[in-house]
Symmetry: C2
Subunit: 261 residues, 2 copies
Amino acid sequence: MVNGNDIIGVLGGMGPGAGIAMSEYIVNNTIAGRDQDHLPQVLFSLPGAIYDRTGFLMGKVKTNPAFRMAEILGKMEKVGVHVAGIACNTAYAPPIFDVLLNECNKKGITIRLLHIVEEVGFFIQEYYPWVKKVGVLGTRGTFITRHYDLLQRDFGVQTVYLTEKEQQRAHLSVYHPAYGVKADPVLVSSRARQIFESSVASLKKRGAEAVILACTEFPMISEDEYVEDMPMVNSSLALARALIREHSPGKLKPWGAACLR
Amino acid sequence: MVNGNDIIGVLGGMGPGAGIAMSEYIVNNTIAGRDQDHLPQVLFSLPGAIYDRTGFLMGKVKTNPAFRMAEILGKMEKVGVHVAGIACNTAYAPPIFDVLLNECNKKGITIRLLHIVEEVGFFIQEYYPWVKKVGVLGTRGTFITRHYDLLQRDFGVQTVYLTEKEQQRAHLSVYHPAYGVKADPVLVSSRARQIFESSVASLKKRGAEAVILACTEFPMISEDEYVEDMPMVNSSLALARALIREHSPGKLKPWGAACLR
């Protein structure tokens, strides 16, 4: 039998580039000298099946994407996944994530689903312990639901956000059909990059000591560890490292710049 | 129901970086303006389950990796995969691939499995039609079985190889536990890069007009489209584009440099 029930699952497709990046972080953050040392993982990237998360949170999409996500997790469990992460921050907003947990419960799915905000909290605590105030750079969905405020409650890390107007621009740097990173994750537009940089600068002005890339698309705009002398906390990478830790803690690479890709 | 039976499968893990690269090529070669336009795909990367392909061909590993690969394809079919590719050239060597087809047949697996050598043939025919002699740069397994000679028979393209001694060095640039690309696909060693370059130069001396990167790990050493003024034919990319063509021909990006990542 292949691998039993010991597989890491990445629920991707939101967007597809972000799911693949998370799979890649898992590989590149694993201590391994040959193929067979690497961890078993599957990536499910079924973007057409999953309604837009921010669209749902804003009332523009009626069906909760959680239902399809639960169906996919059911498929993952059938092939042996026992721990999984969702490569999308907006999917962790309570109006989606709580329904997802409830659906999994109803379907009898027992996959352990890690929580991206919690893992970002642990990540900051471990690698940037001096940070007490973080900027949250995410989609409009994440901006509205403020689910990153969990950091304040559970980790004593205060959150700061963009203004309403700045947030609109940041959202478009991901979603705009011409210059957004979802439209072309390979040749990132200079406009997306410029919005990213001015958003980071603005969060710094508001007191941020680090910035959470709280949309899995942002690391495709910039892979720099530091911008404006502040650490960029890559939420996908934090979740990928947590998946390794849960599966095989002894195989997690020590933290360093090489882990960023 | 999520996506029915319409999913592209990537059988990865050989090595894990090569499987992820193939998934990424599928995304980056698809015409799409938003998440939902992208094609449904799953990547199964279970490296611990699959015995080394070259090791088997050289008689150092007793069990044919084909058996585990067939089991994984069975799992893929259960979640809805209908067309798949294997992100490993050596797996297409007849002593492995023929057994795999036979196993799939016995198990009643009806996934359509594309053939990497055939797709490289179509790729050369379409994008580099003037090429009549190609260098084959692969693992020792591919060197021994010469399954790329199919190109001669079916596409009228002659193949040239490295010498025995050069081939040994090229193999180590992939497999060596210290400087091989499988050991660290992120920070590629200068030695691996240097062996790659001298191998390409040597194939050119032997009359090659293009070089097939006939191991899915080589594009991690070099992403350049041209080396020594010869096109580098990326076998993973050829297979990824073929998977798009089989699934949704209208969504295949026109060929150009932007498709290389």
